[in-house]
Symmetry: C2
Subunit: 324 residues, 2 copies
């Protein structure tokens, strides 16, 4: 029941020694998503022990080279490794001709379908889901069409305590009612409150990826409450003018977003080649949002699976009725 983020690259547009370009891998319940794919990503995946064949979906924020130039090599390699399962690439519309061109030259060697799902939304939209995970995309504010992604473990269905079953002699129908989050109303007027009989088996986890973007008002709301927020910090605070010119963020922009959104932890990266000392970026963020971590290539953020084997009392999360 893993929920693990691995950072493959933390450089921005200019190649530097010691940092590859943007690529994250999020593994949830054994299935991996690749988010952006800068040049050399396949090499970083090998280096950091990410099985290339376990990548289910690919999410591309935008078509700037430092976010996609590793994709062609990666697709070729997993083709050579014998992949047959199709792969969806969620990417802006202008990615379409790039993929089409690549496939026209190199597609013959691939024994799997590569399907582009174009992103066009103006506000968060569900773009993919499994039994346990929902993925939303939302627009960012960059020079070209760019999207962020929110990966949300689904709220698990309620469980009913064994104690409650024996105490109240619950029938299967009554257990079903409680699992749906409803109180049981017996014909004799007895009410068995869901808050005293059921529990949520684990705390759902979440991660949002925001790169590249200038700050904008809606973003904090769109990533509100995530456990992990990755937000680009191309520039230190003193280079705000550069950031504005280039539709990027400073350390303080990212930290303010994290604070306003009430996230658990802020992860930063996409450092300008002008300053590669990540500790400076981290220190600036922490003046606003103390739980900031400046990422380096290979960093792993493992969100533990937290069992919640207690009654619902005080749990404000309501089950959304989805089966997982």
């Amino acid at each position: 029941m893993d929920f693990t983020l691995k950072i493959m690259g933390t450089a921005s547009a200019m190649s530097v020694i010691g940092r590859f370009q943007s690529a994250h891998v999020l593994t949830v319940h054994g299935r991996s998503s690749l988010i952006d794919c800068g040049e050399g990503t396949q090499r970083q995946l090998l280096r950091f022990g990410v099985p290339l064949m376990k990548i289910d979906n690919i999410y591309i924020s935008h078509i700037h080279g430092d976010h996609i130039f590793g994709l062609f090599g990666l697709l070729s390699t997993i083709g050579m490794l014998g992949r047959t399962a199709g792969i969806n690439i969620y990417a802006p519309e202008n990615f379409g001709p790039i993929l089409k061109f690549f496939m026209s030259y190199y597609g013959a060697g691939l024994n799997f379908e590569v399907n582009h799902v174009p992103l066009t939304m103006k506000e968060p939209e569900l773009i993919f889901e499994t039994r346990t995970l929902s993925v939303y995309a939302f627009p960012l504010n960059h020079k070209i069409e760019t999207f962020g992604f929110r990966f949300q473990e689904k709220t698990p269905m309620l469980n009913v305590h064994k104690d409650a079953i024996s105490r109240w002699g619950l029938s299967l129908t009554e257990i079903g009612t409680l699992k749906r989050g409803e109180n049981v109303q017996r014909p004799d007027g007895t009410v068995i409150p869901v808050s005293q009989a059921a529990y949520r088996p684990y705390v759902p986890r979440s991660y949002a990826y925001c790169s590249d973007t200038a700050p904008f008002p809606e973003l904090a709301q769109w990533v509100s409450g995530v456990d992990l927020l990755y937000h680009e910090t191309t520039y230190l605070a003193g280079m705000e003018d550069h950031a504005r010119d280039r539709n990027h963020s400073t350390t303080l922009d990212a930290a303010r977003c994290a604070l306003e959104a009430g996230v658990g932890k802020l992860i930063i990266g996409h450092y300008s080649s002008r300053c590669q000392d990540a500790s400076l970026y981290q220190a600036e963020c922490r003046t606003v949002f103390p739980n900031t971590f400046a990422a380096s290539d290979g960093d792993v953020f493992d969100l533990p699976f937290v069992k919640q084997n207690t009654y619902l009392c005080g749990d404000s999360t309501q089950d959304d009725g989805r089966q997982d």
Copy 2:
């Protein structure tokens, strides 16, 4: 007066840990040529201290991804570094649409011309020259259109020894005659032999790049006598069938070519991901051609500048009359 080959990558099509894909840099008299450009080449150039801005020309053997997927990132990066000097890319005809597509998406950010020089020859042809260097391209025998390259330092003009000038009291006209490699014939019948008055100031050096290719009869002649021959050895000798199926070479193919061509040193690379132990490839080659060196990423082959301040006697090289 350098003539230095730096190996950026020695893997073949499949990405492996510890080896990047094909890219060589040859620096002759301070000007660098990049030969092939696998994914991550720009990172290797940084890592091994090759100044990105000193790359004059790019030579592409063929359009398989492991030979070109680093090109787009490299061009973008040297654009960001402020390059304004145009760059020629010598590559097969089918590279044209790839470059055109890249430029249509990413060319706006480049402040320099990128010019594709298509290669179509059926036998060695001069494709580029400077005062000191000639570059020839020739076809290889691969699954798709593929070319090898021969980099030949020009034979330097003869110098005339100071001793000879004083001994014979040579006039400027007579010195010019000797520098052109001709004997001086004086009206009184005296002959001043060029072999006793002039010398070649240094030994011209040469390097040939052959990847990817199956063996074929003409190749040894086309690379005859080079000081350094790089020849792919994708497979060990026991995998000759694989090599034939894929239009690649084994260790013994490469070594036989080196032997027949009478080269100075054989450098091998482009190892299959099935076997990454370069010492095995080297050992097999050495059974046929002892002066074989199995390259690893970052290896440097420096051909020393050999002064030849002796008389021409015994020098079979004839000056070709070109000014250098």
